[in-house]
């Protein structure tokens, strides 16, 4: 059952319109009273000291990188998994080659010690 594309614009507009309308309506009714103390960062009641822009440990960056790689892998896997029967045997094998390359990457990072928190 093909999706009638001509209604797509209507769905799009009502969706965005509904959200924008709610935001506008509530901006009319909600109180808006910013003051410096309210906008200061929440420090469990204490006065915030120093800035949050500090060079923290590189470990975090490493973990972020590893996560992004395997997240993108998932992005490719999911659409393939939905329609892989109709795509025939070649793409089936091709996807496993793709998976195999990423597994090699994972093993390398694991052995290199990128996953433990030193």
């Amino acid at each position: 059952m093909a999706i009638q594309m001509d209604y797509m614009l209507v769905f799009l507009l009502t969706g965005i319109g509904f959200v924008a309308g709610n935001f506008f309506l509530s901006s009319l009714l909600r109180p808006f009273r910013p003051n410096p103390k309210k906008l200061s960062t929440y420090e469990c009641g204490e006065e915030p000291v120093g800035s949050a822009w500090v060079q923290f440990n590189v470990r975090y960056y490493l973990f972020a990188m590893i996560f992004v790689i395997f997240d993108v892998e998932a992005v490719f896997l999911i659409p393939w998994a939905v329609v892989y029967q109709s795509l025939g045997i070649v793409t089936f094998i091709e996807m496993f080659v793709f998976l195999f390359i990423l597994i090699v990457g994972l093993v390398h990072v694991w052995r290199k010690g990128g996953l433990e928190w030193v």
Partner: protein, 169 residues
């Protein structure tokens, strides 16, 4: 845009519209007051007991939240000392606007048993932040705390968008 309710009142059918939104706003604010988990002393244990299984606060829509950013009720449960008063003011300021304060226990109302001969207690939390409902008792029973919250809900019911009081400065 806060003048809007006052203008709608002037146009002929506006008053009806205003009271309808008032009722809706107050009903939604009253029945989902999220209180900040902020126990100071003995009353905090009674507040936890009220929040736990026997006297359940959840059935009145009160869920405890960790940070002031997501809560609109601050229950001062315990003695406020001079060292803690500025922190309470900061926390009160950092709560989003329709915010309410319940002073639970004699210590929060006026210093309680520590009113005389104590050099480091603040005689009542209303010297630091505006308070909506005072609950007496040392510590007040869970039913007394729930009664105080019902008083707060009645007070929220009487609020209206047009008068300044609804939106506490």
């Amino acid at each position: 845009m806060e003048k809007l309710p006052i203008y709608t009142q002037k146009i002929p059918g506006g008053g009806v519209l205003l009271t309808a939104t008032d009722k809706l706003m107050n009903w939604s604010r009253k029945s989902s007051i999220w209180y900040m988990l902020f126990g100071l002393a003995c009353c905090a244990i009674e507040m936890m007991a009220t929040g736990a299984s026997d006297y359940d606060l959840d059935r009145m829509g009160l869920i405890f939240r960790g940070s002031p950013r997501q809560s609109d009720l601050m229950i001062i449960a315990g003695t406020v000392t001079l060292k803690m008063a500025p922190r309470i003011q900061t926390l009160y300021e950092q709560m989003p606007e329709p915010r309410y304060v319940v002073a639970m226990g004699n210590c929060a109302c006026n210093g309680g048993p520590y009113r005389y001969d104590s050099y480091s207690t603040l005689m009542g939390v209303d010297k630091a932040i505006p308070v909506d409902v005072y609950i007496t008792g040392c510590p007040p029973r869970p039913e007394a705390l729930m009664n105080g919250i019902i008083e707060l809900q009645k007070r929220i019911d009487r609020m209206s968008l047009k008068d300044k009081m609804a939106i506490r400065v």
